[in-house]
């Protein structure tokens, strides 16, 4: 059986196990949240509810710590022209609840009111008023209820559980002179995503594996860099080191060596270029000296400052036959040299332009490959493609 078929079989088996056991064990293995955590704090109700007076309180002990629950009653009847939600009490949960976790809340309450009320439980911010509704119950004038429901804050739009409140409130109907008392007790949270849950244990395990590969924060809130990110960072570090090596090689050695070679070559070429002229000058000097020597002893003649004899008419008797030829050759060579210099300037300018364009491209390319701005895995794909080409090129031959 091929590795692919084996992998598919293992995946399907795990999927089947997760599906089969999810309904059997999810409810039985949940863990109760430790309410002794000091982040959970009781409040006495809304400040807007000024007419509310505390008429009694009850105390409950959770894990060795005593909590006080308040009982409220309105002392003066009021008339409301429109329905209005009134806060009964609030739990400041601080960071006790996790956004991603599925919770079960249990509590008991007793309501004694002179109207049919709507009991609401919501979760949100008391200051801004932003909240999400978790529970809604229409009750009669007097009720004792044991309440239990599941809720999750995930996808609620709330980005932090800091300074968030679990808010108990009632809606007072329109046109009612209200009078009520509210008594809350036996409040208890259960973490439905606890690791002792078999399904969630598997899901957490798979989540850890997935996030270890892909990177990110798993269901338990632990951050993993991820193998892909690790490889990418490794390649980036390797690339930086290789780049540093080539930069150092170029800047510290090759460029210096190239410049030295260029300087020495210029010196040698200039020496070689001047060598024939120097030899010719020496030969010319010799023949001039010889000419003057012969003339001096043969018969004195009148010489101009350059040593050329002057005829009877006062004009030079000799004209250099090579001067015009050399002038034409020098002009032609000068023309070629000018063209070559223009070509060299064109190369230098092109080099500057191309380097500027490539540096711009390089910056964009590096930005594309960087983890901060880039397309995920693009660098890996490009590197893989280049390595594949290299392997195919070398091995395929």
């Amino acid at each position: 059986m091929s590795i692919f078929k084996k992998s598919v079989c293992i995946f399907l088996t795990v999927l089947t196990l997760v599906s089969a056991f999810s309904f059997n064990v999810s409810a039985s293995n949940s863990a109760t949240i430790d309410l002794s955590n000091s982040k959970i704090e009781m409040f006495r109700g809304n400040v807007d509810f000024s007419s509310t007076a505390v008429i009694g309180e009850t105390q409950r002990e959770y894990n060795g710590k005593l909590y006080t629950f308040n009982t409220f009653s309105n002392s003066n009847s009021s008339y409301y022209e429109r329905g209005e939600a009134k806060y009964l009490t609030c739990l400041n949960l601080g960071n006790a609840l996790d956004l991603k976790t599925q919770y079960k809340i249990k509590f008991s309450y007793r309501m004694n009111a002179n109207f049919n009320y709507q009991l609401q439980i919501s979760y949100g911010d008391l200051v801004t008023g932003n909240s999400i509704s978790l529970y809604d119950h229409n009750g009669s004038s007097y009720e004792v209820q044991d309440v239990e429901f599941n809720f999750s804050l995930l996808n609620s739009g709330i980005i932090s559980t800091s300074d968030q409140y679990l808010i108990f409130s009632i809606v007072v109907p329109q046109g009612v002179s209200y009078n009520f008392s509210f008594w809350l007790t036996d409040i208890e949270f259960e973490d439905m995503d606890d690791d002792s849950n078999f399904k969630d244990g598997i899901l957490n395990f798979l989540s850890r594996i997935y996030h270890s590969i892909a990177g990110g924060t798993d269901r338990e809130g632990t951050y993993h860099e991820g193998i892909v990110q690790g490889i990418k960072n490794g390649l980036t570090n390797l690339g930086t080191q290789i780049g540093g090596f080539f930069d150092a090689l170029w800047n510290d050695h090759l460029k210096t060596a190239f410049d030295d070679f260029k300087t020495k070559l210029e010196t040698v070429i200039i020496d070689i270029k001047n060598l024939p002229q120097n030899i010719a000058d020496k030969i010319s000097e010799f023949f001039t000296m010889l000419k003057n020597y012969i003339l001096y002893f043969q018969h004195p003649v009148t010489l101009d400052p350059n040593g050329v004899p002057i005829g009877a008419d006062g004009k030079p008797v000799y004209k250099n036959p090579f001067s015009e030829k050399f002038e034409s050759i020098a002009n032609k060579i000068e023309e070629w040299v000018t063209q070559i210099q223009e070509f060299i300037n064109t190369i230098s300018l092109s080099s500057l332009n191309v380097t500027t364009y490539l540096n711009t491209f390089k910056q964009g390319f590096n930005r594309l490959l960087s983890s901060e701005h880039g397309i995920p895995f693009f660098g890996i794909v490009v590197t893989f493609a280049l390595v594949l080409i290299v392997i195919k090129k070398v091995v395929g031959r």
């Binding site: 002229q277 030899i279 080099s351």
Partner: protein, 74 residues
């Protein structure tokens, strides 16, 4: 008689001038090669590492492959 010395002197001067001018021309042609090398180096240096790195590796591997292949074929 004297003219011959003039002629010889000017001939060598001419040869010297011509050769000097030719070397000047050759030097300019060499400068073209140097500038081309500088152009090539600056272009390669401006390319992203992800291109120059694998190409460098490819060249090294190809050279090694050729050298080792040649030795193995003997």
């Amino acid at each position: 008689m004297v003219i011959i010395f003039y002629y010889v002197r000017d001939f060598f001067s001419f040869i010297g001038d011509v050769l000097s001018a030719v070397f000047d021309l050759i030097w300019n042609l060499i400068q073209v090669l140097i500038k081309s090398a500088e152009f090539l180096i600056s272009v390669v240096g401006a390319l992203p590492l992800i291109i120059t790195g694998p190409v460098t590796v490819l060249i090294i591997v190809s050279v090694l492959y050729k050298v080792l292949g040649r030795e193995g074929g003997q």
